[in-house]
Assembly symmetry: C2
Homo-oligomer: 337 residues x 2
């Protein structure tokens, strides 16, 4: 069930802009879908969008109210419930990527049924999934893989989608996590499906397509993260990527959430990802790398990206600093448009 | 929540003994827990246990009625419901490993609450799981891994548990699938947990223990099965095995459920499993192999097991034909008792 833009972004009482990072991501990647923001008293986040009431949003043809804020524990704030209920009663769809479900807010399901609108708990997959079959499908695919969690996989794939569309290529970002789903207007939170269906979810997410169409599939976790590697492997097998982009944050002290546990080397990460990818796509290659160098000076970042590109014979970019043009060029150079 | 033996094994109207293979496994591995069987008219399976009514089972101190039969689709037969309800009303716990849940049988949950008994849907994990942390824990662990699904991992681990106990070693079978859980009296169906928690489930399943205690952990799937490899990898990381036993069925034409897809070589399977296992246990080794040679003649099987053992420098057994004594001897030889 796809989401319906345009969106009104609900920021609640976000104490800072970090708490509204989901909304920030949507605003950044889908500005054309974002008609306005709604803020409660005390909200310290500001997306630079018009502040709107629900009535104003309706007049602006908004179809979905998106909860773009996360508070501690991922729960739905008491003060939000009245607004969500009113939105539903007024005929808006509502979408959220929180742990707590919209469908668990007392009365909201019934109100949505009465109003004929949808509630989207994008962190919690609902559709029926099939077990993966590993059969190749037409169309081309890129998957972001990483040395760790939270190293820029979603950002890199969204940047590549934008760059490829600018060049007139057929490209679709495929979301595998909640923020990505709100940005894409659809997708599957693969880490929330029943374990038997990880690869099946990846296959469903990226169905067969035109031979010259590219899916840019958001990665999750890392084959080297002891908490989440099963998700990463299932996604890698189901995605059947032709090209991998290796994402990394230089200088990170340890695997996310696990002090003392070192990150893998780029070599290890390339080798294991390729070996596993080739189970379902024997021709898989690593096309390039995307580093998050926010912690480095411009000089140090430029030097590191250049040295890495030389050492591995493939482009190494920082999507924020340098853009992803070189990755797209390398992809097209290898596979054609 | 552990299951409570002794069991009465419910065979329903099983059309043949294969339909009652769950009950057959429990009877084989836990004869001391099996007081009787209950069969409906038309049942063609027979475990060689006394046929019992619920009243007779109560007199025989049975505590749990175990649904040991699977019909097409894994549903709970209409004709079974009355018996399940009566069992609950009489104070028996009820356990089943079907797709359809006992808790979805109309009225059964309420009846269980009234009677103060438990319903165990062992295919559907219920406890709260934590995300894995990858921290080493005391005690020793063996995990069965495989070239494919359904190559004898559960059987091998149960046979090793029995052999180790016979030798006076501290050993516990740890179940990761529904039949294993009914045999062990507890465990977690790791392929049915939410994907983020696969490794966390494996860690919870095999908690820290005495330094000389062995957990024998039932494996699931294969790193080389495109449908289920994510489950296998998460289990491998969470189990943190000291020793792996590689399970294989020689001569299998293709990966289970995927005609045309070849099995990996033993070399590939050893290498990738060890590489991945060493993320959470750098000292992991393959201790031996267990082949299901049911499809071979005695001569051919003996020759193959011998040749494989010589080639790899480790024991290669068929748990049914030869027993698993050599695997236990190799384990003790390497790690001490």
């Amino acid at each position: 069930m796809p989401l319906h833009p345009p969106y009104l972004l609900f920021l609640g009482d976000a104490p800072d802009s970090l708490a509204a990072k989901t909304a920030t991501g949507i605003r950044h990647w889908r500005p054309e879908w974002c008609r306005g923001q709604m803020r409660l008293p005390g909200c310290a986040a500001d997306l630079g969008l018009p502040d709107m009431t629900l009535e104003e949003a309706r007049a602006a043809d908004v179809r979905t109210l998106v909860v773009g804020v996360a508070n501690r524990g991922g729960v739905i704030g008491e003060s939000w419930r009245e607004i969500l209920m009113k939105a539903v009663d007024m005929g808006f769809d509502v979408a959220a990527g929180l742990h707590e479900r919209l469908t668990d807010v007392p009365g909201l399901v019934q109100a949505a049924q009465r109003a004929g609108v949808q509630l989207h708990d994008v962190r919690h997959p609902t559709g029926r999934l099939a077990v993966a079959n590993g059969v190749p499908r037409s169309g081309r695919r890129v998957l972001a893989v990483g040395t760790d969690c939270s190293v820029g996989k979603m950002y890199t794939m969204l940047a590549m989608e934008r760059e490829m569309k600018t060049r007139g290529l057929k490209a679709t970002f495929r979301a595998t996590g909640q923020t990505g789903i709100l940005i894409a207007g659809g997708g599957i939170s693969v880490d929330a499906v029943v374990a038997d269906f990880i690869s099946g979810a990846a296959e469903a997410l990226s169905p067969e397509n035109d031979a010259d169409h590219w899916d840019l599939i958001e990665g999750q976790g890392s084959l080297f993260h002891p908490s989440y590697a099963g998700v990463s492997l299932g996604l890698l097998h189901g995605a059947q990527p032709d090209g991998l982009i290796l994402c990394h944050e230089p200088g990170r002290a340890h695997m996310r959430g696990l002090p003392g546990r070192q990150l893998p080397s780029l070599d290890e990460c390339i080798r294991l990802n390729l070996e596993c990818a080739r189970l379902t796509n024997p021709d898989a290659v690593v096309v390039g790398m995307a580093f998050n160098t926010a912690g480095l000076s411009t000089e140090a970042a430029t030097r590191l990206l250049g040295q890495t590109a030389d050492a591995y014979g493939m482009p190494c970019v920082d999507p924020v600093r340098t853009g992803v043009g070189q990755l797209v060029t390398a992809l097209v150079g290898r596979f054609g448009s």
